[in-house]
Symmetry: C2
Subunit: 449 residues, 2 copies
């Protein structure tokens, strides 16, 4: 098989033995241990197809890899499996200004694509912290969320066309730039979010948006969660350009700020919200109305980009991972109105089992997505697993989603049944078997065994 | 079988013989001829499941029916098949203001759901001409487009959760209100647009939006298609609230206006555009800039709702169907920048075969969607088919979509291969076989035999 692969991909396209880089072991979760049998690096769609056909003939499993920035273990190989990196299948092929669409190869680093869009006068609406190393193909395969979901949606919502290769090497090409295309089943949305288990995404057409105007960034103090919901409702009506609405529960704000070199709010309020929207009178009028209603008790308006960055540094908890080794970050979705009920129930459940645990909440409230930061000093691997089980159990009881934006991979696979029914899992398995009958594409990911 | 069905659904839920209404024969295309063996009218999800399980056991095909407003023959039964109407499974179950979500049953008439949303202070963003009789379930099953796509997307883009019943009666329930949910394959987008061939949609969670403010409606005159594209680019950048951008080629404007009781533009320009956006200085500034650049040669701003309706009456061609019996309306998508090249090629190809044909173009330019109105006086059924074949052939040559928003049903099935590759069709068939192995759900629709 390796001979066939070398013949099809050339020496640069098929690395084996000591040539396989360490980075092929694990994604950013640092939970992958095995090196793959080979690291394939096809440089064209035809080479992806040839490589998959060869592995299929030999019955060897293939694990697609992008920028390896995932947090769910979805791109990690097991010994004996082959990894397939899209890194050499990179580059922006076309920007079509009239169609507001970018044709881009899967291995393109997100930031490279963003800059190409900006140079042409457009916004590429997918954005996340890992932009400098994550790849478009991985963004699509995991349906990445990130920083612009409130205004522009998830990655899938910005996808016009797709090209993907099935396990047996069959190329499915629907690289359309049109917005409306009701011609049979939507394969685009089937591959988006399937985490490399149904096909290897090779190219895509991404929708572009107009470049936004100057942003206003506000850090507001609020007395309770009802006020957070009220401010959100007011902002949604009054600010069509609302692009961020991030809430921090007091515990989180205090903890994150405590590890930073600067202090933004010396006396953190019960809830703090970072709100971003178009600069201008509508934003000012909203703050005034919210203040008069008692919805906000204070608001800082960033006077510079640097000040806005200081607000965001608290939200991003930039120093928390370093200061709190073993910090567990969970990513879940709950019905917006019940986020604080969930936070209280989740904290109580975790502290019942781990009395010393620090549990705090923050996240994209407008997107029904909250992150849970849990710190159990000196926790063993089994205790980390127990933390997951307790928190996801509360998510299940609230009818929420155990993965808002990070995906399932291997790390959340055991709990997929908390958010999807046995009937849904059976339907997913039937679809997997229909497109990959031998089960060779990223086996063991997403679907519990 | 009919005995079992009557026992499961009651006498009201299973109509046979002379009790089956004539309306069960055909959708709005008026091409359906057969009455179904029975018309099932389940009043709950459990009854839908029971009815499908009974038909599955007996190996009888089931055709789901909504408001019967489709134009592609997708809901039409053949003799010996059973029709399943969702009309009794109707009603809005919940409006969640914080989640901005409506929980609604499939048989709910769109306008009923729209009014419920408005009464709660929200916009339900799906809207189309048939709003008074089409049903939410059918809107989802056909991924309806309509009048708000530019701003809010197609029906699938406004879908948060779904419940659907498979051919064997298995209920798949993912009635989530959360925006972010990366937990395995996205079954929501698989059922949306599948035209009842994969499952019967029974309930859904639809995303709501803030109610828009007052609209400004403009009818602009433009010298050529390059100016249409330039005005579109200017409007996209300057008007975040842009909600309509509809172009009419001169032939269409002249023809449509000629059949109306009022005259809007006595001397129609090469291109006319209806543009809708938030009222206010941004809209006025845009028109001024476009006029100075020579992009528009004139612009009427509607001074009343009645005047805006007169602009739209031309666009909707309200009197054309009556005045031109047998008028053929095609619904296709092309890359935006090539729409006029397509129009010229399509007109030339049609007039080469039908020298007396009147061929005109209009549509949702910002959505890459154009409609073609073709009139061949006295055309036979075979000639109508020939018109379709010629026009869709040009769409294929331009790499476009033969169905932008109407779907495939039976009427466009022969041409599905013009927009989707043999490999894609094989993948669709594999998915169909995985979810409906006996092929009993709406057989013969969408996929060519």
């Amino acid at each position: 098989m390796l001979q066939d692969l070398r013949a099809a991909l050339g020496p640069q396209g098929c690395l084996t033995g000591a040539d396989v880089p360490e980075a092929a072991r694990s994604d950013a979760s640092r939970t992958g241990h095995d090196l793959p049998l080979a690291l394939l690096r096809p440089a064209s769609v035809a080479e992806v197809s040839a490589a998959l056909a060869i592995c299929h003939r030999h019955g060897v499993a293939v694990v697609p890899q992008g920028g390896m920035t995932g947090l769910a273990g979805g791109a990690q190989p097991q010994a004996g499996q082959v990894a397939l990196s899209l890194s050499r299948l990179a580059g922006v092929e076309e920007i079509d200004g009239e169609a507001m669409a970018m044709v881009v190869r899967a291995g393109t680093v997100l930031e490279v694509a963003q800059k190409a869009a900006e140079a042409a006068g457009f916004l590429l609406p997918v954005d996340l912290g890992a932009r400098g190393s994550c790849q478009i193909g991985g963004n699509i395969a995991t349906n990445a969320g990130g920083l612009r979901v409130l205004r522009d949606g998830m990655t899938r919502d910005n996808l016009l066309g797709i090209e993907a290769v099935l396990a047996d090497g069959t190329v499915l090409c629907q690289m359309t730039k049109v917005v409306k295309n009701n011609t049979g089943y939507d394969l685009r949305h089937l591959f988006a979010g399937s985490e490399g288990t149904l096909g290897v995404i090779t190219r895509a057409v991404i929708r572009l948006r107009p470049l936004p105007g100057p942003r206003g960034t506000v850090l507001a103090s609020l007395p309770d969660f009802a006020a957070v919901l009220r401010l959100l409702a007011m902002a949604r009506s009054a600010l069509p350009g609302l692009s961020a609405f991030e809430a921090m529960w007091r515990d989180y704000f205090t903890c994150s700020q405590g590890h930073l070199p600067h202090t933004v709010l010396p006396d953190p309020p019960p809830f703090a919200v970072i709100l971003e929207a178009d600069e201008g009178p509508a934003l000012e009028a909203l703050l005034e109305a919210a203040f008069e209603e008692g919805v906000i008790t204070d608001a800082l308006i960033a006077q510079s980009f640097a000040e806005a960055r200081r607000f965001w540094a608290v939200r991003e908890g930039l120093e928390m991972d370093a200061a709190m080794p073993g910090l567990i970050n969970l990513d879940v979705s709950l019905t917006t109105g019940r986020l604080d009920d969930f936070a209280q129930a989740c904290r109580a459940a975790l502290q019942a089992s781990f009395p010393g645990a620090h549990v705090s909440f923050y996240g994209h409230v407008a997107d029904s997505n909250v992150h849970v930061a849990v710190h159990v000093p000196g926790a063993s691997e089994a205790e980390v697993h127990e933390v997951d089980a307790i928190a996801y159990g509360v998510v299940r009881d609230f009818g929420g989603s155990i993965s808002a934006e990070h995906g399932i991979g291997t790390l959340k696979r055991d709990w997929l049944g908390y958010s999807r029914s046995p009937e849904e899992l059976a339907a997913m398995r039937a679809i997997k078997a229909a497109l990959d009958p031998k089960g060779l594409l990223n086996p063991g990911k997403v679907l519990p065994e």
